[in-house]
């Protein structure tokens, strides 16, 4: 087979696939952050912990209750989202009149609590979660081998991202949401229950993180720290994309995953930091982010 810049195509394609999978997680997680930020104006630092909770919820459903992967894909995000709603009602809702940085500090504290509790009970070694039988195996595409589950992760994340984009940009509910982002007082005056919309939006954003966690469970081992470092990379993704646009968050997520995959092929030492370097470059030349609005 031909080689590209001295790299065998199997290696290149393998890393690109890996990049695309990482990108899927970046996209779903930064989408959740952007949805929450749009309406609540806070950065949800607990997003990584909630992603981890999604993976643990799937593992617990299987281990304690015997509920398999497919039901867990629906149930786990609902459970995590419901916990998010409780946290929003009990705590976050008290901070909306203050500087938004307090929301960041509060959710950072929540992330510490959640991660600490899981570490106490499950250690840090990680728990295995089997790939469901219907998605095991793989396809030989000729130029590379594609494990079925990894293909599914990409497909599932694209479906969820597109569905979220569709709801927010194309439906009446989404129109209310966008209106409330612009001017909550006016939307409330039209008789729409804005506080409830805020609560449900937070729950939805958290559920997205939980969904990503279930997707990740069979790929990465289920581990209390799995979200902690990931969320920082997702922050960088969000800074690069800018949180103004839903589609922007999605595209930036996938794009940066691919860039990271390419870096792993051509300059492996730089793969851990390439996203941060891109963030520095974006800050220099377009500080509001690739899809962000100025100001």
């Amino acid at each position: 087979m031909f080689e590209l810049l001295g790299v065998p195509p199997q290696v290149l394609m393998g890393q690109l696939l890996l990049g695309l999978i990482n990108g899927s997680f970046y996209a779903v997680l930064s989408l959740g952050l952007a949805v929450i930020f749009g309406l609540l104006n806070i950065i949800n630092f607990a997003h990584g912990a909630q992603y981890m909770m999604g993976a643990f919820a799937a593992w617990m459903l299987l281990t304690y209750v015997g509920v398999g992967y497919w039901p867990a894909l629906i149930v786990a995000p609902l459970v995590v989202g419901a916990i998010g709603i409780v946290l929003e009602r009990l705590m976050l809702a008290r901070l909306y009149h203050l500087d938004h940085l307090y929301g960041l500090l509060l959710t950072f504290g929540l992330a510490l609590i959640i991660q600490g509790l899981f570490r106490n009970y499950y250690g840090i070694s990680g728990l295995p979660y089997q790939i469901p039988a219907s998605l095991s195996g793989g396809y030989n595409l000729g130029f590379m081998f594609l494990p079925t589950y990894r293909g599914w992760v990409v497909v599932a994340s694209v479906i969820v991202c597109f569905a979220t984009w569709f709801i927010i940009e194309k439906t009446k509910l989404g129109a209310y949401l966008r209106a409330a982002t612009e001017n909550p007082v006016l939307v409330g005056a039209f008789g729409i229950n804005v506080p409830r919309m805020i609560t449900l939006t937070y729950g939805f954003g958290v559920a997205l993180a939980g969904f990503a966690g279930v997707l990740a469970a069979p790929i990465y081992s289920v581990n209390p720290n799995m979200g902690a470092d990931l969320i920082i990379v997702v922050f960088a993704v969000v800074v690069i994309g800018g949180m103004g646009s839903i589609m922007g968050a999605i595209l930036t997520g996938y794009g940066l995953g691919l860039v990271e995959g390419l870096t792993r092929v051509f300059y492996p030492e730089g793969s851990a930091v390439v996203i941060f370097v891109i963030m520095a470059i974006v800050l220099l030349f377009r500080p509001e982010g690739l899809f962000g609005r100025a100001g």
Partner: protein, 325 residues
Amino acid sequence: MAIAEDTVKTGPLRESIGMPRLHKVIFLVLLGLALLLPYGVYPVFAMKVMCFALFAYAFNLLLGFGGLLSFGHAAYFGGASYVAAHAAKVWGLTPELSILAGTVAAAFLGLVIGALSIRRQGIYFAMVTLAFAQMVYFFALQVPFTGGEDGIQSVPRGDLFGLISLRSNMALYYFVLAITFGGILLIYRIVHSPFGQVLKAIRENEPRAISLGYQVNRYKLIVFTLSAALAGLAGATKSQVFQLASLTDVHWAMSGEVVLMTLLGGMGTVFGPIVGAAVIVTMQNYLATFGAWVTVIQGAIFVISVLLFREGIVGVISKWLKRPL
């Protein structure tokens, strides 16, 4: 920036030039206590508290007075600790030169990261500083000179100015005390200088400060660099005390800890960071055997502080005494 809206406003300008008598008295009492402390508690523990107190002061300079929430101060604290440990161990420099090398490195790092980070405000600023700190962490994990997971171990303590041995804990204690106290007084001076007044103006109302003709970004960059340098001074000193520089000091959890110390003690107060650092370090010391519960408790303190207690310990006392502390 309204983050400090709950902090006590400092008095009229007259009061902020020269040190009010109350502050003088408290500083003298603290100094007296600190001089006697090593006879009562284990000196290494006392030095740890002082290093973190200076770290929290440096952070408070940026957050409490500059209104900038950096979530990546571990980069300067830990980065300086690596440089200082390397300087002492490999280059064989004396303690004061090693610490100076660490501080200068942190200042440079702060200048570069600060110049990029101040291009965004508020929440984005916090995320950007966190992301750059994570980059420094990965860098420390990969480059050979930091020793990766092992860190730089058994750093020699050496002789101060090549003359005075710092191998005994007592001698080192008074050296660390001098650095910490000097650093804290320097920060006090910065905050109460005309420069500090402009910083407060920017924090309270940035557009207004711009309209008054202040080069806001230049002020922000200077305070960011100063804060990074002083955080580096704390980290470099810590590496000499523990004879160790490790990944713990550059990890994001360390950035979170310094935020917690400042929040708990009282953002924008003069004595808050000392109190916050003392409480958190003592707590970690006593709860060390409980493992991950320490993280849970720290998280709980965060949540409680944000929900119920935004002025912090010193902020509450200050409100009660009706005097800025």
